[in-house]
């Protein structure tokens, strides 16, 4: 045997190792356990944002109350932020259609999927229950003198296109609502996007803008804030002084709202869908649930799957129309090419290929010349510069500066590139003018072996699954680094697997990959 250490090991060691292998296998198979009665294990509510925010709050309040009607089976809220919902949707679609994954959805998801050309995700979901909505409202800061719609309107007429409306998103539900409101009212506004509603409200409190478009409850941040118009058919009970757009003589803005509900992936058995319909209806009638939404300008309205589907279809068409109008909808076909952006196809390929060629030739020359000791440092700089040049080429296809966004999407990346180029050249000059006596280092063989082991591990995770891959990698990595204590290795491996199972899989609901072999 090539590994003499292994010869000294006795039966108990091998039994333990086998036991570990078996438990890894069973961990991976665990998720496939069949279920007859539903539900028998915790149900996940996947939220597409980070914790905090209204949809997360909705899911958490729901989780708390739904447990009363689910025979004690808990609901667990897990956050999968990213891509405005794409990450969460894709995750829900990858999980089995066993009904244990509920997706918390809002109208923002529809606008995002339309804006990014991912309508396929909308079609793959079962829009199960509509829970509630709240209308969009316009809020002003009364210390600026704009304490009514009329004042805001007059101000807009005076300022032309320089009236600033602050909001939380770009190309989202609120942005589209703002465009519609301005259009219906016959005024112009400049939309200033913020990364969160809170930051936009803070800016309004500091009089950075003229109005804020958002949810009614945002007006609670300060007594200076006034709700000047509500995009609903009736006034809100919580804000009886705020008029609707209809009352102000502006039609067509009765349905500007954000809705929230739940979706499942398609293919969930009908009995489970029925179970959810009943449960969600019960929660919607629960007095504590209703009380928890009092004073927030929210209307609780349960709608079943059929009505919800129709609404989603209507919203999809509406966003297609308005996002094209704002100029945010990507053209079809843009997704097909890998390097959309360097300009004409040939020019782009030529540019990329020449950059690669220059770097390759440079590397060949440098590593064989008397500059060998500095070759790697010069190559780092050359690589960074080439990448910056490639990015610069790609900026040509970004939206150009406009009268509203004066800097444009290309401005800041170009600025960084302009700063980088002289600094990189200066650094090259310093190396060439004052070469330090670098000693040539030996090839780091051990590191390369370790890196290869780690790369294999990462590549094997999707194939063998997390548990088996880790079971192989941990002892192999230790062995590579000349650690020769088999019992400690076995203990460490078992300890790590247990730790990652309990802390990550059970406590944090991180679904570690189960691999293709199961």
């Amino acid at each position: 045997m090539p590994l003499p250490v292994l010869q000294r090991l006795r039966l108990p060691f091998w039994l333990c190792a086998l036991l570990l292998l078996w438990s890894c296998q069973s961990l991976q198979a665990e998720e496939l356990a069949a279920t007859d009665d539903f539900p028998t294990q915790p149900i996940r509510i996947v939220v597409y944002t980070s914790p905090g925010g209204l949809i997360d709050l909705t899911a958490r309040r729901f989780a708390e109350i739904a447990r009363r009607y689910s025979n004690g089976v808990p609901f667990v809220v897990i956050n999968r932020p990213g891509g405005g919902g794409i990450v969460a949707f894709e995750e829900a679609l990858q999980r089995p259609a066993d009904g244990y994954t509920l997706l918390a959805v809002t109208r923002s998801n529809i606008s995002k999927m339309v804006a990014t050309g991912r309508e396929d995700l909308i079609e793959q979901l079962d829009w199960h229950s509509y829970l509630m909505h709240n209308p969009h409202v316009l809020i002003t800061n009364s210390t600026s003198g704009l304490d009514s719609w009329q004042a805001l309107y007059q101000d807009a007429i005076q300022k032309g296109d320089r009236q600033l409306w602050l909001g939380a998103d770009i190309g989202g539900v609120k942005h589209v609502s703002g465009v519609k409101m301005a259009k219906q009212a016959g005024i112009q506004m400049r939309w200033i996007p913020y990364s969160s509603g809170g930051q936009a409200i803070a800016a309004l409190l500091g009089n950075m803008g003229d109005a804020y478009l958002g949810n009614p409850r945002d007006a609670l941040a300060s007594n200076d804030l006034t709700l000047v118009a509500v995009a609903a058919s009736e006034r809100l009970a919580e804000f009886p002084d705020a008029p609707t757009f209809h009352e102000l003589g502006i039609p067509g803005l009765e349905q500007e709202l954000i809705w929230r509900g739940f979706a499942l992936r398609q293919g969930v058995p009908e009995s489970i869908r029925q179970w959810y319909s009943q449960l969600i209806y019960q929660v919607s009638q629960d007095p504590d649930w209703q009380a928890s939404w009092a004073n927030e300008g929210v209307s609780l309205q349960y709608k079943d799957s059929q009505a919800f589907h129709q609404l989603v279809e209507r919203d999809t068409r509406e966003f297609q129309y308005y996002l094209t109008e704002i100029g945010l909808l990507r053209q079809p076909g843009e997704r097909s090419s890998l390097l959309a952006g360097v300009g004409e196809q040939q020019a782009r390929q030529f540019f990329t290929a020449s950059l690669l060629l220059i770097n390759a030739v440079l590397a060949l020359v440098l590593f064989r010349s008397s500059w060998r000791a500095h070759a790697s440092e010069l190559m780092i700089l050359s690589g960074i510069t080439s990448l910056a040049l490639l990015f610069y080429g790609m900026t040509t296809s970004l939206p150009p500066p406009s009268s509203v966004d004066v800097v444009g999407a290309q401005g800041v990346p170009r600025l960084w590139i302009y700063l980088l180029l002289p600094l990189a050249l200066y650094q090259v000059a310093l190396i060439l003018r004052h070469p330090k006596k670098n000693r040539l280092r030996k090839r780091p063989r051990l590191l390369f072996r370790f890196l290869s082991a780690m790369l294999c591990y990462v590549l094997l995770i999707p194939i063998l699954g997390y548990w088996l891959a880790s079971l192989l990698y941990l002892p192999a990595g230790l062995y590579l680094l000349k650690y020769r204590q088999p019992r400690a290795m076995l203990l460490l491996t078992a300890g790590w697997l247990l730790f990652s199972y309990w802390v990550f899989q059970r406590l944090l609901y991180v679904d570690l990959p189960s691999g293709l072999l199961v």
Binding site: E64, V87, A221, T395, P413, M454, Y483
Partner: protein, 494 residues
């Protein structure tokens, strides 16, 4: 106010709140110390456990986690050069240098004491001045946010010293990485090659784990640095009162800087720790020790980081506006407990608010005890055989990067950043500026464009705060350039 505070304190000083504080701190410290778990994840994780508690008890538990997690990031930064949070990157600079010199206890001691003291100072500022501070926070124009971000970037020059040029190149690498993804203003995809996982750009946490933890492992393996380091028994004692007393001004100043920057929604602990490190170095009698294991360096970074917790609570409690990821979770938690954070909360339930202040003070005091007890345990990490430590760090990096959004893409990014970090470090490029560039890039860009959209280019110079910050930033950018030019013309060996 005094009677509210007394009433609040008496509510906190009983068994359950105290138990919640200790439990919260312990959970928080562990969450902060594990690379890949952020304070906001830690707080969100515990929200469901608070359903059955009173609002006061629930908030005390969650705040204790926040406070613990803000400190916890520095433990792994000091012991294994793997900052658990972006704001602990600065702590790693001097803290890990001290560990490599065999003095981890000194670094851990300074970090825990300055954290706790600064946490208390931040809470005091919150208690006494929250209303006027909130009024200031909202008047910060995007132009001023931009100037603050540039000022933060300019700290690189002092961070790097003679390596000035390489540090700026590293920062621009970070800034360029940050431009990848959906453009926050126009919504267009930038440099994503139409690859969906890139539409949110490179996430900070996998990058942080790769650049620091993995690159450190790779460098040590390259140098075959597997020796078990005997702790220097003579030098490595727990610092005494004299040491802390010598650091009083650094701690006080950094805590105030942290608190002040913390109040601005969206600015946060990372800028605060870089800026206060920069100022501490400029004010120091021994600036040459910064980066080589300076007591003041660790104190400045940690105090600013902990002070920012109190600052971040200002807009949350007075306006209901969350300024950071963690405070956003706290708003949600408060609403679940039927509390509407905002101006009316001070009027409707003052005893709750002052109870929370008392709890924050107490939690920082308890952090001192829990942290000092824990530090004696953490220090054992440096005793673990190196091969075991390196393999465990690589496993932690993989699972940490994966758990951010359940994607193998992030794991590959983490490994890629590890290799990038190793290559850069090998050629003496500092890594902290890359992270600073990644954190500040989007703050600088969005606010620059917002400011121009609102008021044109002039606004940067017509608003006094913005003008002053920009001039300061420009000065810290230019001065080292002149100095370096002089030194290179005089001394050709540089």
């Amino acid at each position: 106010m005094i009677e509210h505070l007394l009433a609040g304190s008496s509510a906190v000083l009983s068994w359950w709140p105290l138990a919640a504080i200790v439990a919260g701190l312990m959970i928080g410290i562990v969450v902060g110390a594990i690379p890949g778990l952020s304070p906001s994840m830690g707080v969100a994780l515990l929200v469901p456990f608070t359903y059955g508690m009173s609002p006061m008890l629930a908030l005390i538990l969650l705040l204790a986690i926040y406070i613990g997690a803000s400190y916890g990031g520095s433990i792994t930064a000091i012991t294994i050069n793997a900052p658990g949070t972006a704001s602990a990157v600065v702590t790693a600079i001097d803290g890990h240098a001290m560990t490599r010199q065999g003095r981890p206890a000194r670094a851990l001691g300074i970090s825990i004491v300055t954290s706790a003291v600064a946490g208390m100072l931040g809470t005091l500022v919150l208690m006494l001045f929250s209303q006027p501070l909130a009024a200031i926070a909202v008047t910060f124009h995007p132009a001023e946010y931009f100037a603050l971000a540039l000022f933060g970037l300019a700290t690189i020059s002092s961070l790097a010293g003679a390596n000035w040029l390489k540090a700026f190149i590293a920062a621009i690498i970070g800034l360029l990485i940050n431009t990848i993804g959906t453009d926050p203003i126009s919504g267009a995809d930038r440099f994503t090659f139409n690859y969906t996982p890139l539409s949110d750009g490179f996430l900070l946490i996998p990058a942080l784990i790769g650049l620091f933890a993995l690159s450190e492992v790779f460098s040590r393996i390259e140098q075959r640095d597997f020796r078990r380091k005997r702790l220097d028994e003579v030098q490595d004692s727990w610092p005494g009162f004299v040491t802390y007393w010598q650091l009083k001004w650094v701690t006080l100043r950094s805590a105030l800087i942290g608190t002040l920057i913390g109040i601005f929604p969206g600015a946060g602990a990372t800028i605060a720790s870089f800026i206060s490190y920069d100022i501490a170095k400029k004010q120091s009698q021994t600036p040459e020790q910064f980066g080589q294991g300076s007591d003041e360096g660790v104190a400045a970074a940690e105090a600013a980081n902990s002070g920012s917790v109190g600052g971040a609570m200002v807009p949350l409690l007075t306006l209901g506006i969350p300024g950071s990821a963690t405070t956003a979770v706290l708003v949600g938690a408060m609403m679940i407990h039927k509390l509407n954070p905002g101006p009316q909360l001070f009027l409707s339930s003052p005893e709750l608010m002052y109870g929370l202040f008392a709890a924050m003070l107490l939690a920082n005091l308890a952090l001192l005890l829990v942290g000092l007890a824990g530090s004696r345990l953490w220090i054992r990490v440096t005793d673990v055989p190196k091969p075991v430590l390196f393999v465990l760090i690589s496993l932690m990096a993989v699972i940490g990067a994966y758990s951010v959004r359940h994607s193998m893409f992030d794991v590959f990014c983490c490994l890629g950043f590890g290799i990038l970090g190793w290559i850069l470090k090998r050629k003496d490029y500092p890594l902290a500026p890359v992270i600073l560039g990644m954190v500040l890039g989007s703050i600088a860009e969005t606010n620059f464009r917002r400011a121009v959209m609102m008021d044109g280019y002039d606004v940067f110079f017509t608003r006094p705060i913005s003008a002053v910050l920009l001039i300061l930033a420009l000065a810290s950018f230019i001065i080292p350039l002149i100095r370096m030019h002089r030194s290179t013309t005089r001394d050709p060996s540089l």
